[in-house]
């Protein structure tokens, strides 16, 4: 995607040029399961000009709390501030940056590809390589489900783009620390 930002005093630049240098961070935020909490978290990022790249929210083991797994790109110092500001919110139990921790990280994607009878077998074979499940099959399309770390999903999607991707839904990654670590 090639989005263009134009400001009054800078020459035209593209986000594509600006973003790749910034590392992707994964934050895990345990919050009170209450209305408005997501908005409070989102504001902490938006106010400082940070884009949330992925976000997964679901009830935690203890039903009073929800778990948010947030992927965001940005400078270390800025994210430290975001983490501190998230921790400051009354509704936040804790906010951890797991970027450099020993974690398991998984994501799921549904990929609808444009493929007719002539190349179907080829597509399914590639899918099998990535451990995909076929969820839907029609005359000129099929839906594959792929799970794994985000890099694997990127690779699978790249391979499938050869057939033509009609729709793509990614959950965003969820993470959990290994062993005795707290997520």
């Amino acid at each position: 995607m090639n989005r263009t930002i134009i400001t009054t005093d800078t020459p035209v630049t593209t986000l594509e040029l600006a973003i790749p240098e910034q590392p992707l961070h994964t934050l895990s935020v345990l919050v009170n399961n209450q209305p408005g909490v997501l908005a409070r978290i989102a504001q902490v990022f938006a106010r400082r000009g940070y884009n949330i790249e992925s976000l997964v929210v679901s009830p935690a083991a203890d039903g009073r709390f929800s778990r948010m797994t947030i992927g965001a790109r940005g400078e270390e110092s800025g994210l430290d501030q975001i983490k501190a500001q998230c921790n400051k919110l009354i509704d936040v139990i804790h906010c951890y940056d797991h970027t450099s921790d020993d974690i398991v990280s998984k994501e799921l994607a549904l990929v609808k590809i444009s493929v007719g009878p002539d190349r179907r077998a080829e597509a399914l074979q590639i899918g099998e390589h990535y451990g995909c499940k076929t969820l839907d099959l029609s005359q000129d399309s099929l839906i594959l489900m792929v799970t794994g770390d985000s890099g694997k999903l990127d690779a699978m999607i790249d391979m499938m783009s050869d057939f033509g991707i009609i729709e793509l839904v990614r959950t965003g990654k969820v993470v959990m620390t290994r062993g005795s670590g707290t997520t």
Binding site: V31, N32, P35, G36, A39, R40, Q43, R47, R64, F65, S77, D80, Q81, A84, Q85, N87, K88, L89, I90, D91, V92, I93, H94
Partner: protein, 575 residues
């Protein structure tokens, strides 16, 4: 407890009262009707003050809290009533002022349907509150009220909003008044746990320093750390400078005091910071107004940051040493490990700066704001509660009104809210009825909230409203003169009313100062006038500039003491 069934609104007032709320400032309206009715039926001791605008009400609660250290409540209706509180809540949030704001709201089944006077005030205020509630169940009121007061007043204080739909305040409350707090993510008590290793590391750094400076901020005030700060400064012989909001935490007449630092701070405070080998901030957040160019601030110094808010550590300045927690507790621990330092030469050096670059002004050449403030300070023996608005008069008041005790200086620092000073002074006077309260305002800011003259007259608050009237928005005009070739744009306040007649129209007393010779005589009379508020209109010289000055974004060493002969570059800093 009242015999008959208690409704949500009555429950709310009982819980606020039990939580120590003495004053409630506000403005009525449809969605808040049940709560206003409860003021009559609940038998509450809370004193309600009807303001003339919701912004005024919030500033009054703010001024009350800044003068007493205790929170007040605000009660407004939904929609525009709640919307008018925004500037006030933001002002309180920026300066960490405790308060509880209660807004009426549409009935719950109409939420989100654009009902009459419905506004999503819960969403609108989210970035400017410490926390907020939208009450969905009448039985939650005791718990929410208790939590709101707890959150507002503990840790780093701040405003808390409770949005109260009308059917909730009107509904029957079956819950007992005493409720348990349920805040699993909020642990303000950790602020009182001292990390001994951090404290010893800081003490070692202090004991090794040759040219130390203490930078005292509002956090030290909020922690009531004045005595511990004084003990530290006197034991070690360390000079103390304060931020705008830290004024009073260390007596400014003290020989170790350097006064305020920063953009319009004293030359000697800024020079001390530039030359120090150790800067210890106690409860300041290294605001851009005091550090100037961040990467040049304290380049050659060991920087120590003591703050209750972990998010402030490293936000602006990366400290060499830090301690997170309550300033009073940390300083108490620190005082056990520090020794008397050999700072005689350093103090003598700074005294040299005090003599070379004193705060001064010329008494000739027209009526000067500085002259008026200087005389006012002398007449009140620096013991008045000074509430300022925002602009040139604010900076001169910070320079010339010496603040001797905590809670005697009230000013909108972080937000820089014009229209703050006068209503804040009303709140301060209600909280401190036996003290002299002076609202130092400009002609611009005063006109933003002057309608609260009605409130001040009705409450018989003897606030002295000192209007330093230069018929300009002086600070903006100063910047235009210095940085924009003196092109005056949007700063001429032609059409100002006759403030003396205006005061009289509201039933207040009016005084006039036109010449330097009038200052002492008129101020003496005004300070003695206690039958309600009085306005002292001072026709000061129109074009005067506040110095010293550090242009925004420039380093502290680039401070200018007087107007330069050359044309200055436009500042690159924040504003």
């Amino acid at each position: 407890m009242i015999a008959e069934a208690r409704d949500g609104a009555q429950t709310l007032l009982k819980c606020l009262e039990a939580g120590g709320i003495e004053y409630m400032f506000g403005y009525s309206g449809g969605a808040a009707l049940p709560i206003f009715d409860a003021l009559e039926t609940a038998g509450t001791k809370i004193k309600f003050v009807l303001a003339r605008h919701e912004q005024g009400a919030v500033h009054m609660a703010d001024g009350y809290a800044r003068a007493t250290g205790r929170p007040a409540a605000v009660l407004v209706t939904s929609g525009p009533g709640a919307g008018n509180t925004i500037t006030g809540i933001m002002t309180a949030h920026m300066d960490s002022i405790p308060m509880v704001v209660i807004s009426g709201q549409q009935v719950t089944w109409m939420l989100g349907k654009d009902a009459f006077q419905e506004a999503d005030i819960f969403g609108i205020t989210m970035p400017i509150v410490k926390h907020s509630y939208l009450v969905k169940n009448t039985d939650d009121i005791p718990r929410i009220t208790k939590e709101a007061l707890h959150i507002a007043t503990t840790g780093r204080p701040g405003p808390v909003l409770i949005d109260m739909p009308k059917n909730i305040s009107q509904g029957v409350c079956n819950a007992p008044l005493e409720a348990e707090i349920d805040l699993p993510g909020y642990h303000p008590d950790v602020a009182y746990d001292v990390n001994e290793a951090e404290v010893i590391a800081i003490a070692d750094a202090i004991n090794r320093s040759k040219r130390p400076v203490i930078l005292a901020g509002h956090g030290a005030m909020l922690a009531h750390a004045g005595p511990e700060l004084k003990e530290l400064a006197e034991t070690c012989q360390i000079p103390v400078t304060s931020t705008l909001l830290g004024k009073g935490i260390f007596p400014e007449s003290h020989e170790l005091s350097l006064g305020m630092l920063g953009m319009h701070g004293t030359a000697y405070a800024n020079k001390a910071i530039c030359e120090a080998d150790l800067i210890m901030s106690v409860g300041s957040r290294f605001d851009d107004r005091i550090i100037g160019q961040a990467d040049k601030f304290g380049r050659n110094a060991t920087i120590i940051h003591i703050d209750i808010d972990p998010a402030e550590i490293g936000k602006m300045i990366k400290p060499d040493l830090q301690a997170i927690g309550d300033a009073k507790v940390i300083l108490t621990a620190l005082n056990k490990h520090v020794t008397r330092l050999q700072t005689k030469d350093w103090l003598a050096h700074l005294d040299g700066y005090k003599k070379r670059f004193p705060l001064n002004y010329k008494k000739q050449g027209g009526l000067k704001m500085q002259h008026i403030l200087d005389v006012m300070d002398q007449l009140t023996k620096s013991r008045a509660v000074v509430c300022t608005d925002v602009g040139q008069h604010q900076m001169w008041a910070a320079q010339f009104c010496k603040t001797e005790a905590p809670w005697d200086w009230i000013s909108s620092g972080g937000a820089g809210t014009m229209g703050f000073g006068f209503p804040a002074a009303i709140g301060a006077q209600l909280g401190r009825p036996d003290d002299i309260v002076v609202a130092v305002v400009g002609d611009g800011g005063f006109q933003m909230t002057l309608f609260e003259l009605s409130t001040a007259v009705l409450q018989k608050t003897p606030v002295k409203i000192l209007i330093l009237n230069n018929h300009f928005l002086g600070m903006v005009r100063q910047w235009q003169e210095l940085f924009f070739d003196n092109r005056k744009s949007g700063v001429d306040l032609e059409g100002n009313p006759d403030f003396v007649k205006l005061a009289e129209a509201y039933g207040a007393k009016g005084f006039q100062i036109k010449r330097p010779a009038d200052i002492e005589k008129v101020l003496t009379r005004a300070l003695e006038y206690n039958d309600g508020p009085c306005v002292i209109n001072c026709e000061v010289v129109q074009e005067d500039n506040v110095f010293p000055m550090i242009p925004a974004g420039a380093a502290l060493e680039d401070m200018i003491i007087e107007k330069p002969k050359y044309r200055m570059e436009k500042p690159v800093g924040s504003t």
